[in-house]
């Protein structure tokens, strides 16, 4: 028997919808296998991991709080990856957005006006975009691979944040804890639907809707798609590859920066050495699970938020390490990529004999 792939004449619309669902199904199945290997009742463990987070108002709020940054970053990366610009340094851009936005409460501690918050969010976007501009510049000017440069900058941003909160930006009244002053009043994002979900969630959905329109209906979206798909044809169409790199990096960097300041001005309420639990990396999975479609990214963001929460509830209820969520996330990404093959190819099984000419 031999497995071969046969290219479809036309991309399969049915498979485009089915492939993420199939990937989730496979992840759940193999997740059950892993739980069984860990000596747990797989059905109960899967319930705790995937469904329990949806059963209480508290955890649904938590879900939205976690999904918001994933969607914000994920839609930017979706556009970026569609253009085949591989920004994998969103985690660093998130950190820089958080740092830039925090300059307001740190340096203008007493400033209280609606503009305070606006200024923080704008600075967050600028900080992330500027940090995304570095790989864009190195790529367009020196042809340096953006995958490697953007990733290296994640470490640099992490050390910078660490230095700031332990050094110059440390709260003088903070009992020597490595954290900044606490944000107050207009330095904190207003909440909606109760007391914990903040407007970051609305920003995320709005960003997704706007980008969905841009990608589907505008010439900019056409430019992104053509540059990612066939850059030579894109140039023939009159677009500039360098401009596309800049656009993609600034957009995804800015959105990651916005997610960063929302994280600090929302759930955290102050700067601390560790700004995100790896949202910038998880958002890569979100972008792919959403099939690089901004609307799809909203659902994918919720799915990945479940995997974070599931990891926490699995730790509490089942005594499994919360690291299990990273394994689930990695597995999920693998299955999505494998299932995406089905969109362009048909899988056929051939028995060895039928391919050979019968010998003498």
């Amino acid at each position: 028997m031999k497995l071969i792939l046969e290219k479809r004449p036309q991309r399969s619309a049915k498979m485009a919808l089915l492939s993420p669902l199939l990937a989730i199904a496979l992840t759940v199945f193999f997740g059950g296998v892993i739980f069984a290997l860990l000596g747990l009742n797989p059905l109960r463990a899967l319930y705790v991991y995937f469904l329990e987070p949806l059963t209480s108002w508290w955890s649904i709020q938590e879900l939205v709080i976690k999904a918001a940054p994933l969607v914000l970053i994920g839609v930017g990366l979706a556009v970026c990856f569609e253009a085949k610009v591989w920004n994998i340094g969103a985690e660093g851009q998130l950190t820089m957005g958080a740092l830039a936005g925090s300059m307001i409460p740190v340096f203008f501690t007493g400033w209280q006006s609606p503009l305070t918050l606006v200024a923080m969010l704008v600075l967050g976007i600028i900080g992330g975009a500027l940090f995304g501009a570095i790989p864009a510049f190195l790529k367009t000017r020196f042809n340096a691979n953006e995958i490697l440069t953007s990733l290296m900058l994640v470490y640099v941003a992490g050390y910078l944040a660490d230095w700031l909160v332990r050094g110059p930006w440390r709260d003088p009244d903070g009992f020597n804890f490595p954290k900044s002053v606490n944000f107050e009043g207009w330095q904190v994002l207003p909440t909606i639907f109760g007391d914990r979900i903040h407007i970051g969630a609305i920003l995320a959905v709005a960003a997704a809707l706007v980008l969905a329109f841009v990608m589907a209906k505008t010439l900019k979206g056409f430019e992104i798609r053509i540059m990612g798909n066939a850059p030579r044809a894109g140039m023939f169409s009159g677009f500039s590859p360098k401009k596309t790199v800049w656009f993609a990096m600034l957009l995804s960097g800015g959105l990651a920066g916005l997610a960063g300041i929302c994280e600090i001005a929302g759930p955290a309420g102050h700067l601390q050495p560790l700004i995100s639990p790896g949202y910038g990396f998880t958002a890569i999975i979100v972008a792919f699970l959403g099939r690089l479609n901004p609307i799809g990214v909203i659902f994918a963001g919720v799915m990945l938020a479940i995997s974070y929460l599931g990891g926490e509830s699995a730790q509490i209820d089942l005594g499994v390490s919360a690291r299990i969520s990273q394994v689930f996330q990695g597995m999920l990404l693998f299955f999505i990529l494998a299932c995406d093959t089905l969109i362009l190819y048909r899988i056929k099984l051939l028995s060895g004999g039928s391919r050979k000419v019968t010998g003498a």
């Binding site: 497995l3 071969i4 792939l5 290219k7 990856f81 591989w86 994998i88 190195l138 000017r141 020196f142 042809n143 340096a144 691979n145 995958i147 490697l148 440069t149 990733l151 290296m152 900058l153 470490y155 640099v156 050390y159 910078l160 660490d162 230095w163 050094g167 990396f281 890569i284 999975i285 792919f288 390490s321 690291r323 299990i324 969520s325 990273q326 394994v327 689930f328 996330q329 990695g330 597995m331 990404l333 693998f334 990529l337 494998a338 995406d340 093959t341 190819y345």
Partner: protein, 303 residues
């Protein structure tokens, strides 16, 4: 001074091992961005096996096996299912970090088993150069031997010629009857073995303990090294030792306490990587000549 050189050598060795594997992978026309993931799995498998059995040899073998198993996943995905190599490499890294964190949770804070250094009477006792030349652990020599062997195989044997041919033009290689997919499977597995070995070196020799994410971006630096070396094995060795030096110098300067923030010194290897990439990539003739033309492109044979 002697001590500094000794640490530089141990810092350079894992970079050399991992980059050498990736060089062969890329020479065959495949871009595996999952070096970090394969390395960290190698590190946890190596540590775990050595801890459980008390044998460093078993640890090394387990590291190699761990790297290969996760590389096999990459090979199946990209070669059989034709998935995007960039995305799959990222997935490999994320999965590797997750799996290693899960496996390694019980190893945190456990004392490890350390790979010993060789001792040759008289030679090792030579002043100045004795310990540097004749007192290293076996994998340091192994990594240099690997470099020479890779260089020899790639440029002097039929195997190497076929690898370069497949990476240079898979259509032509296929037309001549070479099995492109099989060559690439083999190259990817070799890359996994090297990365796994590099990871095991970290957890058995460099710092004999298990720390989560202990590869700290070394897999990515190894990837940058391959570009830096413009796909030439000898230059990988030069690059690895250069980076090892920078890594250690940061620590040395920190220990001297000049009032430079430690975070700046810790960022140094990453900043230098970026600088190196910029210098090399800016020189297009240098990167174009050796860079495998098929890199990252999937191969679909017609039936």
């Amino acid at each position: 001074m002697e001590a500094i050189i000794l640490t530089i050598i141990t810092a350079a060795t894992p970079l050399l091992l991992a980059a050498m594997g990736e060089l062969v992978v890329e020479r065959s026309g495949v871009l595996n961005l999952g070096v970090e993931g394969m390395m960290v799995v190698g590190a946890v498998c190596g540590f775990g096996a050595a801890y459980a059995s008390g044998s460093v040899t078993l640890g090394i073998l387990a590291g190699i096996a761990g790297g290969m198993i996760i590389a096999l996943l990459f090979a199946i995905m990209t070669q059989t299912f034709l998935s995007n190599q960039v995305a799959t490499g990222l997935a490999l890294t994320l999965l590797g970090l997750g799996v290693s964190g899960l496996i390694g949770e019980s190893f945190v804070g456990v004392p490890g088993v350390k790979l010993g250094q060789i001792y040759i009477p008289l030679l090792t006792d030579l002043p100045y150069v004795g310990r540097i030349l004749f007192g290293q652990d076996i994998l340091v020599y192994g990594s240099v031997a690997l470099m020479m062997a890779t260089s020899y195989v790639l440029f002097k044997t039929r195997t190497g010629l076929v690898i370069r041919a497949v990476g240079g033009n898979h259509h032509s290689a296929h037309a001549l009857g070479y099995n492109v997919i099989a060559v690439r499977y083999a190259a990817i597995l070799f890359g996994g073995a090297c990365a796994g070995l590099a990871g095991a070196y970290l957890s058995l020799a460099y710092t004999p303990q298990w720390v989560e994410n202990m590869t700290a971006g070394r897999g990515w630096i190894a990837l940058a090294l391959v570009v830096f070396a413009s796909w030439m094995p000898v230059r990988i060795m030069i690059g690895a030792y250069l980076f090892g030096t920078i890594w250690i110098l940061g620590l040395v300067v920190q220990a001297m306490g000049y009032g430079i923030p430690s975070q700046l010194l810790s960022s140094l290897p990453y900043l230098v990587t970026i600088a190196a990439l910029v210098i090399i990539s800016g020189n297009r003739t240098l990167t174009k000549i050796n860079s495998p033309a098929m890199i990252g492109q999937p191969f679909v044979p017609d039936r």
